[in-house]
């Protein structure tokens, strides 16, 4: 029974990873940038909500209403002042600038907040610990379930938005061919700004939920970036529904790994990620040689 519970927890944790990975995947899909400051932006948002909740006493859920527009504005500004210029200098420069930004955010937050481990759990009352009994001995946490539902709604909503709204179509057209997009009247600069705003706002959303369900420090960002990246790659880069699957695979691998060894949580996640990469390369190699049939036929 412990295994069923663990797998269920892993799936729900996967929802968090999907929420976290959504913005990373989206920014890469539209702008071809892997934002190395993604995790740190999530933590920045968590710190912001913590500050609001701690000083004013209002609920973190309400504080989100303030924090998300702020994060969106940060995303927009980031695009305008940093990413746009980086992109002009080639594909490697955005990696360097976003890495620099990550270092600045982490250490800036440390300077302001110190090294203390914090959590938003005390600010959301019993909700942090509530759980529902599925059967007499299987429970799932209500917060974990909420996060999972939110991830599904966010990813699904984003997909619908991209398919059925004119702004969504403009984003897809810009992602595919910015030069031609401008020729059909799309202000690609504005589109990139909007895309960055969406990506950073969703990172901020994920960061706040991380802070509710667990603890964080100013230096938690890089780990979150790695989790998000692993979810994106496992699910297949550029696919929003793949991101959910990737998140679930990662979450289940980690919770099962933790059953084996306390260190197993992280190790299993990384190993599964590398195994998926290796597996994909083997499959691509087999295809390039004319498929599995041809390869077997060649054997004596």
């Amino acid at each position: 029974m412990i295994w069923v519970t663990q797998i269920l927890n892993g799936v729900l944790l996967g929802g968090y990873y999907a929420l976290l990975a959504c913005g990373l995947s989206f920014m890469f899909g539209v702008m071809r940038i892997i934002n190395l400051a993604h995790g740190d932006l999530a933590i920045l948002s968590a710190c912001l909500v913590f500050l609001i909740a701690d000083t004013t006493g209002i609920s973190p859920f309400v504080a989100l209403i303030v924090a998300l527009p702020v994060m969106a504005a940060i995303g927009w500004a980031l695009q305008r002042w940093m990413l746009e210029r980086s992109l002009r200098s080639g594909v490697l420069v955005p990696l360097l600038t976003t890495f620099g930004l990550a270092i600045v955010i982490e250490n800036g937050l440390f300077e302001y907040f110190g090294a203390d481990t914090r959590s938003l759990a005390p600010y959301i009352g019993d909700f942090a610990y509530d759980s529902w009994a599925i059967t007499s001995n299987i429970y799932i946490g209500s917060l974990a379930a909420l996060i999972f539902a939110l991830a599904v709604v966010l990813l699904g909503g984003l997909k619908l938005f991209l398919s059925y709204t004119s702004l969504g179509r403009s984003i897809r057209a810009t992602a595919e061919d910015p030069d031609t997009a401008a020729l059909v009247g799309i202000n690609t600069r504005a589109i990139y700004g909007i895309a960055a705003a969406i990506a950073v706002a969703t990172a901020g959303l994920a960061g706040v939920f991380l802070a509710m369900r667990a603890v964080f420090t100013p230096y938690s960002g890089p780990e979150q970036l790695i989790f998000a990246f692993e979810a994106v790659v496992i699910g297949g880069i550029g696919s929003l529904s793949g991101t959910l699957i990737g998140g679930i695979v990662l979450g289940v691998a980690q919770t099962l790994g933790a059953q084996i060894n306390p260190q197993g949580f992280l190790i299993t996640g990384h190993v599964v990620f590398l195994a998926v990469l290796a597996g994909r390369l083997v499959i691509a190699g087999v295809r390039a040689r004319g498929g599995l049939g041809a390869l077997l036929a060649r054997r004596p």
Partner: protein
């Protein structure tokens, strides 16, 4: 007043001087064919007019306003639409989405999805297919349709028949003739001199970045065009 005035326009690709002090006036309702060998600067000229390429010098005046500093999306909203060389459809989007996305930012006017389908009936069955999966002729029809969706006052067509089967070229030109008859203003780049002479009211021949021959289609002979094409007339340009 001319719809479009290009004054002393220069455009470069790095060290390559692709367009050299070109001056061109186009009145509303005209169909101008740009003729010239590969590398003569036709595509760069069209792209510079549309705002996709930044000029090195010179002015582009549209409806009396200097639009030289207006970005491509702004020129489209003023009524300049380009059908780029190689069609450049959004391959991952459906035909309908390709049309819709252009319709979002264009000017109001008679063109919408229904009227585009009327002009290009072959698209009716293809509306929900991915643009990347269409045949060459269907793609070209979609590309022209996409430009029309913006209800342009000036339509720039780059190599619309390139790489198409003869029957598809025929279909595209039949639609173009209807468009011309309706009073549209068009600049088209065409390699086939006979076809260009047949459809255009005015001809401009480009050679090494300059316009070396220009005049009403009726006044220009095929021989003159051929000579200009190969640079045999260079002496006359002054």
């Amino acid at each position: 007043m001319s719809l479009l005035e290009v004054e002393q326009l220069d455009a470069r690709h790095g060290l390559l001087h692709a367009v050299r002090s070109v001056t061109l006036k186009i009145a509303a309702g005209e169909t101008v064919a740009l003729i010239g060998a590969n590398g003569a600067g036709k595509t760069t000229l069209l792209r510079t007019i549309a705002g996709a390429h930044r000029p090195a010098a010179g002015r582009i005046v549209f409806e009396g306003d200097d639009v030289s500093a207006v970005p491509a999306y702004g020129r489209l909203r003023r009524g300049i639409a380009l059908v780029p060389e190689g069609r450049r459809l959004f391959a991952g989007m459906t035909v309908k989405e390709n049309l819709q996305v252009a319709g979002t930012y264009g000017r109001p006017g008679p063109w919408n999805i229904d009227s585009v389908i009327e002009a290009f009936p072959l698209l009716r069955e293809r509306l929900n297919r991915r643009a990347g999966n269409l045949s060459g002729g269907e793609q070209q029809a979609t590309a022209i349709g996409r430009a029309l969706m913006t209800n342009p006052k000036l339509l720039l067509l780059d190599e619309v028949s390139l790489g198409l089967a003869p029957i598809a070229v025929e279909a595209v030109y039949r639609s173009l003739e209807k468009l011309i008859a309706s009073g549209a203003t068009i600049v088209l780049v065409e390699q086939d001199i006979n076809r260009a002479l047949g459809v255009a009211s005015r001809i401009a021949c480009m050679l090494e970045g300059r316009i070396v021959l220009e005049g009403r289609a009726a006044d220009i002979s095929r021989e003159q065009v051929t000579q200009a094409y190969f640079g045999l007339q260079k002496a006359r340009q002054a």
